[in-house]
């Protein structure tokens, strides 16, 4: 447990294949540090979602080693995994809201799973719905919400329990640019509170919005390191920046 404070996640030579197909991730090695903000980028089909699935413990790698909060999670008995999952917040690419629960109950789900009392639920959940601009849709079922509204409910659910690590898969794919920016600010606010944030996106414009972010890039299942995100300490200074201090050129095309 000695490195629990210095490393959130470490991948070591991780490979993943679905069934007998070729590997969709190969030789993936990196370390994520507490309080950092990472973008995971790459073309569609590059393996972003697959890598995030390994991160949020929905999938076992075919080979390699993964440790989380200082514990090897590959050899861990599955009864101990829920405790790790509760320290994560996940925004799924397809939202995965529970269809027969209201927006309120969907957002409250992680708190209920962790055993928070009903009396202590109401305020944080309504505050969170307020934050994503959905307090008026609190009682709505997911099916009656627009794609963007569903995405905001999914994000509210992912951050409500103040996770140690937030993993978001294309979280701004269904919202207009203003809302995208607002959601990024929410992630940043959470990040400033100490949460490690990993956002997968194929939207290059998004990367510029978070100047202090580190970038990991997947290309056909292999990881490259345009901002030095995978080295420690991160070498942000190698990033060329334009006049408003934001990254301009990442040295690769999307």
């Amino acid at each position: 447990m000695k490195n629990a404070e210095t490393e959130v996640v470490t991948f070591n030579n991780v490979g993943l294949r679905y069934g007998a197909d070729r590997e969709v991730l190969s030789d993936v090695s990196f370390t994520l540090y507490p309080g950092s903000f990472y973008f995971l980028t790459g073309a569609s089909g590059a393996g972003k979602t697959s890598l995030l699935k390994l991160l949020y413990l929905a999938q076992r790698p075919s080979r390699g080693m993964i440790s989380m909060f200082g514990t090897d999670v590959i050899t861990l008995p599955r009864t101990r995994l829920p405790a790790f999952r509760r320290r994560l917040g996940v925004v799924f690419q397809d939202f995965r809201l529970v269809p027969h629960l209201s927006a309120f109950d969907n957002v409250a789900l992680p708190l209920r799973v962790s055993g928070v009392r009903e009396a202590d639920l109401h305020k944080p959940v309504t505050d969170m719905l307020d934050w994503v601009g959905l307090s008026h849709r609190s009682d709505a079922q997911p099916a009656t919400l627009s794609g963007g509204e569903q995405q905001r409910v999914a994000i509210a659910r992912a951050v409500i329990a103040r996770p140690d690590m937030l993993v978001a898969d294309e979280p701004t794919g269904n919202v207009d640019p203003d809302m995208a920016l607002k959601l990024l600010r929410l992630f940043e606010a959470l990040n400033r509170l100490g949460t490690t944030v990993v956002v997968a996106t194929h939207d290059v414009h998004l990367l510029r919005k978070v100047p202090e972010s580190l970038i990991m890039r997947l290309d056909k299942g292999r990881l490259s390191d345009p901002t030095g995100a995978l080295r420690y300490p991160p070498r942000r200074e190698i990033m060329p920046r334009d006049d408003d201090g934001q990254a301009d050129d990442f040295g690769f095309a999307l």
Partner: protein
């Protein structure tokens, strides 16, 4: 799903009630009949038959093994035999046409029902036969249980049949619940996966299903119990309508009613355990 459970519970209640009634009937009849003997006076002449019957009554009353005895009144016999012999053929009437002749009547025996102090032994029967041989030569004495043996074995087969039915229905209910919770699991697969990924433990997720299945099973079990009890009461009245001395004692005791009321509870427990097992097995396949 609640309807499947309702039907299963109703059928189980009916089968169990049948089995319990058969059991009670067997026990009562057994104890009643094993301590009983029947004296038949088979004699064509009514006056002679009457004389021998009275003599046998007086003699047997003094036998040490006899607790009580009762001449079955001719009117009662007549009623008993009516379905087979038609009206007007009883020992009370001489002939169908009302002719005066003594021997014209269909010879219906006189019957004496003897209760013994304990179960009938062949020795008792022999000594009773010797006692009446002289005064009532037409008397034939038999233990009641001997001629009822086929009835007993029929009752005991029915008991086993009812037991087997209850077992089969229990298995079928289990299978029905299993399939129902599997399909519920399939329909809610996404929900389960989400709660799983949010850090829900297997037990937490199983409890969600147990609750909803328990609700279904309680609803179905109550409706099924009411349907089953209604059917049992109706059937009971039909049998009571038969009012034959043999079927008396086939009723249900207070304990039996409790057993029937417990059937839906057992059903709920089976449903909840099956649901839990199904969900746990499905979750085991997720990381």
């Amino acid at each position: 799903m609640p309807w499947v459970i309702a039907i299963m519970v109703a059928l189980t209640v009916i089968a169990a009630a049948g089995g319990l009634a058969m059991h009670n009937l067997a026990v009562t009849a057994q104890s009643e009949l094993s301590g009983g003997a029947t004296v038949q006076i088979v004699e064509a002449s009514p006056t002679e038959r009457n004389r021998q019957a009275q003599a046998a009554e007086i003699l047997l009353a003094q036998h040490p093994a006899v607790a009580s005895l009762r001449r079955v009144p001719d009117a009662e016999l007549e009623q008993l035999l009516e379905p087979w012999l038609g009206t007007g053929s009883g020992p009370g009437l001489s002939t169908v046409s009302g002719a005066a002749s003594d021997t014209d009547a269909i010879p219906v025996p006189a019957l004496i029902d003897v209760r013994l102090r304990s179960a009938v032994t062949p020795g008792d029967l022999d000594s009773m036969r010797r006692l009446v041989a002289e005064q009532a030569p037409a008397a034939r004495i038999d233990a009641q249980s001997s001629w009822l043996r086929p009835v007993f074995s029929a009752i005991s087969s029915l008991q086993w049949l009812a037991f087997a039915l209850v077992m089969l229905l229990g298995l079928t209910s289990g299978a029905a619940v299993w399939l129902a919770s599997r399909s519920a699991l399939g329909a809610n697969r996404d929900t389960i996966e989400v709660v799983h990924l949010l850090g829900g433990t297997d037990s937490q997720i199983a409890r969600i299903f147990q609750r909803s299945i328990a609700l279904d099973a309680t609803l179905g079990g109550t409706v099924g119990l009411l349907m089953g009890l209604a059917a049992v009461l109706l059937l009971g009245r039909q049998f009571a309508g038969l009012d034959s001395g043999m079927v008396a004692g086939g009723g249900l005791t207070g304990f039996d009613w409790l057993v029937l009321a417990a059937i839906p509870m057992v059903g709920i427990v089976i449903a909840v355990l099956t649901a839990r097992l199904t969900v746990m097995l499905a979750l085991r396949r997720m990381l």
